[in-house]
């Protein structure tokens, strides 16, 4: 505080603190507290607000914990988000290693250029693209049929398949970049020393590269899991009749039942889920917040 005044003077310090306070208070802390408060209030008509029925209650959370369907959807969302995270990790690790250690830095720039293109195309269009590709009468079945690999079309979008395909495609890059950053800081000499000492490929990765890449792996997993569990677009565009995502239930409370209180409770549960996952990952993989935010 005094350091700030010394450095930038009173007036500028005032502006700096005012802007930051507005952000953290009005856009981050207070809205989340209101969300929490709202989730403990009953859903009642406007004229009863402030009346005897308007008291704190656990009813909204009870709705969730007594509904086997909602519990199941929550569980499936956690499960499939973890599956997506794992698939992304497996897909992304070799790419990150390639970009950081195999290709020359100059070529890596070109690879990044190509990787960046889909990242800037919006999520809604990327899901839409897959809904075209995976259609029963679509180009994927046609191509496989043309190659003689299948006799009749495959229904791709059964169960959670469509959602999984869409989520992996949409978020895999969020796994590549942090792992790349982590591996890049590994001294190549360490890999070469392991090679010279006769370590097989898998052991070099298991004992040298992966331990070094842990923070990157952790932050990649955090981002992919959070984005997947919180995704609304992909499950609604690529889902099937049997795939329900937790965010769809939240949406239902808000837009169909117009019950914002229960909706808030569900949204808060989603926030809790993501927070728990973040802290688990940070503890297990030794990630610091600074690593995530790169």
């Amino acid at each position: 505080m005094t350091a700030l005044v010394q450095r930038y003077g009173g007036a500028l310090t005032g502006i700096i603190i005012a802007l930051t306070a507005f952000w953290l208070l009005a856009m981050v802390i207070l809205p989340n507290l209101i969300l929490l408060e709202f989730s403990f209030r009953p859903y009642i008509p406007v004229d009863q607000m402030g009346g005897p029925n308007d008291h704190y209650t656990l009813a909204n959370y009870a709705t969730f914990f007594t509904s086997p369907i909602h519990l199941q959807i929550f569980g499936l969302t956690v499960f499939y988000s973890s599956v997506v995270t794992l698939i992304c990790l497996v897909l992304a690790y070799p790419l990150a290693y390639f970009l950081a250690k195999v290709s020359t830095p100059r070529n890596a720039g070109t690879w990044f250029l190509l990787l960046l293109i889909p990242l800037w195309v919006s999520e809604v269009l990327r899901s839409f693209a897959w809904s075209i590709i995976l259609a029963y009468q679509g180009p994927l079945n046609a191509a496989l049929h043309g190659l003689g690999l299948i006799d009749k079309g495959i229904r791709w979008r059964t169960g959670f398949n469509g959602v999984l395909i869409g989520l992996v495609y949409t978020y895999v890059l969020f796994m590549v970049f942090p792992i790349y950053n982590a591996i890049q800081s590994l001294d190549t000499n360490q890999i070469e020393a392991a090679q010279d000492l006769g370590a097989p490929l898998w052991r070099i990765h298991w004992r040298v590269v992966i331990p070094h890449a842990k923070p990157g792996i952790g932050s990649g997993c955090i981002m992919v899991f959070m984005l997947s569990a919180g995704s609304i677009l992909v499950p609604s565009i690529l889902g099937s009749t049997t795939s329900r995502w937790f965010t769809e239930i939240i949406q239902q409370w808000f837009f169909e039942s117009v019950d914002w209180n229960t909706g808030s409770a569900y949204a808060f549960l989603l926030l809790v889920l993501c927070t728990v996952f973040v802290s688990l990952m940070m503890r297990m993989l030794n990630v610091r917040l600074v690593d995530i935010a790169r």
């Binding site: 700030l4 450095r7 930038y8 003077g9 007036a11 500028l12 802007l19 930051t20 952000w23 856009m27 207070l30 809205p31 989340n32 209101i34 969300l35 070799p94 390639f98 970009l99 290709s103 020359t104 830095p105 250029l113 190509l114 960046l116 293109i117 889909p118 800037w120 195309v121 919006s122 999520e123 809604v124 269009l125 899901s127 839409f128 693209a129 075209i132 259609a135 009468q137 679509g138 180009p139 495609y169 190549t188 955090i222 959070m226 919180g230 995704s231 677009l233 939240i250 949406q251 914002w260 909706g263 949204a267 808060f268 926030l271 993501c274 917040l289 600074v290 995530i292 935010a293 790169r294």
Partner: protein
Amino acid sequence: MRPFSLGRLIITAYMVLFIVYLLAPLVVMGGAAVNNSRFPSIYPWVGLTGRWFGELWSDQQMWRALLNTVLVAVAVVVLSVPIGTAAALLINSVQSRMRSTLYGLMVAPILTPGAVIGISTILFWNKLSVPAGLHLSVLGQSSFISAYAMLLVLARLQSLDASLEEAALDLGASHAQVMRRIVVPHLYPAFGAAAVIAFFQSVENFNVTLFTGGNSSTLTVYVFSQVRAGITPKINALALIMVLITVVGVILYEVKRRQSERRLKVEQEDTLEDDVIEGLGLPQLTSPA
């Protein structure tokens, strides 16, 4: 230096396959924009047409959504870049204990699902009797986009030598002058990057906008409603245009980034081994930047 090996070949092939996997859906989606079929697909191929662009052009809803998107994105840039800068300046000057708490608070919005941000934003402002609408989308989006801006500005700020500021103050410069003549010019590249990222993050945003936008829709919300309502390929026409804009934008951005990278290369100490070896041959490494 790098001998040919089977492993290298396999991993390079994997990289190429991955790029194909990333880009093929975009090609399919773009291709469907010029296919003369009632349904958005490239198969069966009926023939080349430009009529979906015509339909898109005459879609009033699309134009309104586009205007909304641009307005929101500009407002987000105007709001989040100054906030991010202020936050970076603040965190750069506070001490350890306070610093990590503040940092955690500032990074938290990045790790919060968009639906939660959208819902909490609308609840908070509703409490203050502010109705839903694009202005709330701006506030909701800025809550996490400011965090990105803060990180970009902070990274740049850390390469600014604090003794420059002190020297200027000792020589009698006012605080405003130090800010205007030393700090701000040093941060220019970060402002540019933050503005670009903020703009695109805002354009792409769906989750926050869905809950805060009320009856107004931005382009992503419009596309979503069209996709859900069983659509005509005019969305593909829109997609093709957006993909092309993206490709051009990414190339321009990358070209600029490389130029500035070349300039920065000299200052950077943590360059890769290969860079150093390549760089040793370059004459400018020996001359001060």
